[in-house]
């Protein structure tokens, strides 16, 4: 069961934090930009009420600050009062969950909202319009209150905490070593795990904890001797003992931890696919981070985690297919060994993927030979059969697709090929890559800014009068 995400108007947390900074900036120009962006968000919908209120307060206070002489005090009082009324009501309304209305002040107490905000709302609605002095003061305090009770409670960018987490993990490693030697009871190392879990929430594990764990010196020991062996991808028993407790606790706490960890490892393996080969040939180490022993140890961890998964002890929600797909796509000596582990543990898998694995074995083998014996292509009958089968399968698939979507596809093709000058074109089928909505095919959201000058002169220029 996957969690259904909630819809938010911002493209990324960075954008969200940026708007926070803008709205609370010293410079009125930045505050103005912040207000503009929140207006764009409002048009998308699903903007948290606290954000809407903050922007409204900022907008009115900018107007107050920069329109002296162009706006009467009464107009300002009306503006401020309306913002206050909407701010308080919007904060309180979600808590009116019963059949009958609760008093606003009772909810305000629950929210830790100063009661005079509520009084101001009341005065603005039913009594004398509050004075400009008190409204200005109230606006400042409301902005402060919003900053404390909403903006600051949002998760800070993970980068701020990286150092703290790293030192905690190191501390854990040392304590755990002592545990194993029997010098210590287990409580202290467990406490540290708890501390880490308090610091990090699930969304950020792949940006904070996981990259740290993968730094040399943690999951992968500093000393080359302590790293895994290339032949069978076996980890040092001590490594397993140190880290298993932590990894399994994290996995229990965070549903996606196992998958995220594996994903990250696979990413690293993927990136260094080329360098690993050259390493093997040169037998020379360039840096600790891309050295073959580093990558081998990471592969060994994948193998180890898979092993735990198949034994049903932990990592129960591992996305094995993802790993399988990766290994088949990126055949290398390491992934081949991972595949073997999977096949040993899963009979069904074994029968279905063994032809591929054989093929990979051969391919890897033959590549070596090619390197050695002046590039003579060596294709066996088996290879060709596999190839033929693959092509047949592809052909069938395409035939099926054509049958299903004849009308749609043909129409679109006609269109895309016919007029090159048309404003409408189909995106090139071959270049299109599925990607999340809002992203370009490269998986990134492009910069969506248009020049600020387009909005006309800024309103935050001191009027000369």
């Amino acid at each position: 069961m996957i969690k259904i995400p909630r819809v938010v108007p911002w493209t990324s947390l960075e954008e969200f934090q940026q708007v926070h900074q803008w709205l609370y900036a010293e410079s009125p120009n930045q505050r103005e930009i912040g207000v503009k962006r929140v207006k764009a968000w409002s048009s998308r919908g699903k903007v948290p009420h606290a954000v809407v209120s903050t922007a409204a307060f900022v907008e009115v206070s900018l107007r107050d600050e920069f329109s002296y002489g162009n706006i009467s005090n009464h107009e300002l009082r009306l503006l401020y009062s309306m913002v206050f009324i909407r701010f308080v009501n919007g904060m309180v309304d979600p808590f009116q969950q019963g059949t009958f209305a609760l008093s606003i002040s009772s909810i305000a107490v629950k929210l830790n909202m100063p009661l005079w905000f509520v009084e101001m709302r009341h005065a603005g609605t039913h009594e004398h319009l509050p004075s400009l002095q008190i409204l200005r003061n109230g606006c400042k305090q409301a902005l402060q209150w919003l900053n404390e009770s909403y903006w600051s409670t949002q998760k800070p960018l993970p980068s701020a905490q990286v150092n703290k987490i790293r030192s905690l993990i190191l501390q854990y490693k040392e304590l755990r070593k002592e545990d194993i030697n029997g010098n210590n009871n287990r409580d202290s190392s467990r406490k540290i795990i708890g501390k880490i879990m308090e610091l990090v929430s699930e969304e950020y594990i792949s940006e904070s904890i996981i990259p740290i764990l993968l730094e040399p010196g943690l999951l992968v020991p500093m000393a080359k001797k302590k790293r895994a062996m290339a032949q069978d991808l076996s980890l040092l028993p001590e490594s397993k003992k140190i880290w298993d407790v932590m990894l399994q606790t994290f996995d229990k706490e965070w549903y996606t931890f196992g998958n995220e960890l594996i994903l990250k490892i696979l990413e690293i393996l993927n990136k260094d696919d080329v360098s690993i080969k050259s390493d093997m040939n040169n037998q020379e180490v360039q840096s600790t981070h891309t050295s073959s022993s580093y990558l081998i140890t990471l592969s060994a961890w994948v193998k180890h985690i898979l092993y735990i998964y198949y034994n049903g002890k932990s990592f129960t929600n591992l996305d094995v297919n993802n790993i399988l797909e990766f290994c088949l796509r990126k055949p290398s000596t390491n992934t081949q060994l991972i595949l073997q582990t999977m096949m040993e543990c899963d009979e069904e898998l074994k029968t279905s993927v063994s032809p591929f694995v054989n093929y990979i074995n051969k391919k890897l083998h033959s590549e070596d030979i090619i390197h050695n014996i002046d590039e003579i292509p060596k294709i066996t009958d088996d290879d060709m059969n596999v190839e033929i089968n693959k092509l047949k399968y592809e052909l069938d698939k395409i035939n099926k697709l054509i049958k299903e979507e004849v009308s749609v596809v043909s129409e679109n093709n006609r269109v895309s090929s016919s007029n090159e000058d048309s404003a409408w074109k189909m995106y090139d089928y071959n270049e299109w890559k599925p990607c999340a909505l809002g992203c370009l095919p490269n998986g990134q959201v492009p910069c969506l800014d248009l020049p600020l000058e387009l909005d006309g002169p800024s309103t935050v220029i001191k009027s000369s009068t």
């Binding site: 996957i2 969690k3 259904i4 995400p5 909630r6 819809v7 911002w10 493209t11 990324s12 503009k36 764009a40 048009s43 998308r44 919908g45 699903k46 948290p48 009420h49 606290a50 209120s53 919007g90 309304d93 009116q96 059949t99 209305a101 830790n112 909202m113 919003l146 009770s149 909403y150 949002q154 969304e203 940006e207 998958n259 929600n317 996305d319 993802n322 979507e405 009308s407 749609v408 269109v415 048309s422 404003a423 409408w424 189909m426 995106y427 599925p434 990607c435 999340a436 909505l437 809002g438 370009l440 998986g443 959201v445 492009p446 969506l448 800014d449 248009l450 600020l452 387009l454 909005d455």
Partner: protein, 764 residues
Amino acid sequence: MGRRRKKQKTTAEFVENNKAKSENNKNFNVIDQKTVDISINDNENGMITTSKNRELSSRESSPVSALSMRGKIDVEVLSDFENDSEDIGMITDNEEKYGSLEDLNERVYESQTLKKSEKSEILDSFVVSRFNPSSSNVVCYEEKDDNFDLCLIAMKRGESISFRGNVLVASIYGEAVIMGYRLCGVSSEDVSESLQIDLNSSLIFHPVFSPKTHSLLAIESVEKQKMTHKISHPGIIACSKTKSIINKLLSNIDLTKGGYDTILALRDISWCGIQDVENVASCYNNIFSSNFANNNEKKDNEIKQSKTDFFNIKGFYPIFEVAPGMTAFKIPHSWENSTNQLVTDILDFTLPPISIISGHKNVGKSTFSRYLVNSMLNICPKVAYIESDVGQSEFTPCGLVSLNILDSPIFGPPFTHIQQPYRSYFIGHNSPRDDPDYYLDCLRELITVYRRDIACGPEYGMYGDEQMRIPLIINTHGWSKGMGYDLYLHIISSAKPSHIFQFYSATITNKNLPPLPEYVVSPNDQEPPKVSFVEMIDTPGPSKYSASDRRVLSLFLYFYSTSAMTVKQESVKWWAFDQPLVRRVPWCLDWRKGLTKGIFMLSGEVPLSQLLYVLNGSIVGLIGDIDNSYKSEQVDIEMSESKEQESRIIPNYFPCPDFSPPSPTEYTCLGLAIIRSIDPTSHTFHILTPLPSSVLFKTNTIVKGTLELPVWLMLDHTKNSSLGVHGVQWKRAPYMSIESGGGVGNAAQKIRRNIKRRSQKPNI
């Protein structure tokens, strides 16, 4: 049935005098003439403006508020969240809880209502089919190898089959009624020894969709009607192979011995792919497919199961026992009577009649209008339909008002028969409240277009052929209070209807509309309209699926529909749910070339510098010129050429309210689209839309309203991955967040209108 409310039989009534009416019918709240007069003046002065004056005056003069001041009306109790919550994921499936209920013959109000949602499940005994399947009255085509499901059903008069799922239906012999439409048999000759269909005659199947989200449809065998001549409406034409199979099967049915009145042919339509919508969002589970596995009573179930086994059709589930969450569609007598009145008037009137359907929300307006359309199609080849309920449009996704020309019966809820309108306008919102003037302009234009092109035009009109007259049905919005009521009166005055169907209930009086003002009931310059009161459908509580759920559903079925749906092509997917939107190859629109007019913003105040932040990943309306002639095209080319010289990198931008929305006399809405991504470096919008290229290329304007993209359309429902969407991890995926967020005021504003004050008495 003991607890069903006794309904007062209401026949079509002609309102001459409000006062007389008030004496006859105490339940009908009549307000004094004075308040009505005020509201009339108000309307004659014209304006519905968004100004504060408006609000003040409507408070004082609105008949409804006058009533409530007198304490006759309770504050609306049954209204749900107006801006309904989009947390569809939270709707829980309560079915299992009710599995062991024994007393099934009564309509049971579940007393233990759910704390949070206050939604209750009802058991409705009317869903049970009045039909006992046996080997003699259900004959199936047995040869399964060619994947062809067909069965013949022989029914006696009065028997009916209600079902869930979807199916293709055609009548072979005799007549059957679905939702007011009569299916007439192709072989109408009197019973001979061997009933056969003529292989040269055209046998037309109609698709019938009956999902759980709405009341289930029933097929009922009825007495043959003497018709002067039969009108056939396009559907799916059976091939000769089908016909010969039917003939083969017909020999197994003994018409005289069984005393059957109707023989129907049912076929599988599961190839259309509509049931796959269940995979898109978890809350629509089992709306089409059966879930017998969930029922607890095993022994009983086996018998029922065997009953359904007679019908060997994929995706067709006849109902033989009551089950929670399923209600049957029942036609009150007043509906039949007033519809019959209209049908006879169509034949008598010189001009095709214009009917308006009005009433509070959730009273059955949409259902009634479908019933009315189908009934009119019994005698007319085509019916025109104007939808003014932007929140729940019948033939388009939400946010549009449209004029549709219907030439075939509609069996199923709105989202199953979305079709390209004759003319439509983009309101861009679920309610007309933000720009009521524009809304009225659009509706007026639709009515004008009907009068000019359809009622009297040479193409469609009644020139020569009496049978070609196309009557108009206008469905109004359910916003019956305050400004909404004023809008309704404005629609009446511009439509000048010949018939008004007003919903009415003797028991739930706060859902009744106030009596129509004098100038509508007896106008000076035209024939007075015939006003019929139609009975509210007795819906005991809000259904499990809210208005917003249905809106989302209609967006799903719109964006996933294929070109095969528009032409009703057989055996090709009408809805391609197997390919999620996020994976589809989009159209690229170069905004320097394609948007000769520009981009309109219908709401909010978005600075141009922020425009792309709004458009990326949102739903927009595609707008094009109304193509009247080729003359205008030339002008356009010149215009666009002159503009091209300026080499616009920034699109023309028309924010509201400084610029009024595209004028309804010049522009029409071509359809909806999702801007799935933007590439600013190449001035390109990447666009997903079900529109065919021929329509798409007419686009010269993009309009953004406030329609929100449901989260389900951003996800890939075919890949159940916890890792994110297409390699983009959750925290990197824009516009989505899996963290719950925190702090005070984290939630977006939701509107709730059913909070009561302590001083109010609970309305039970």
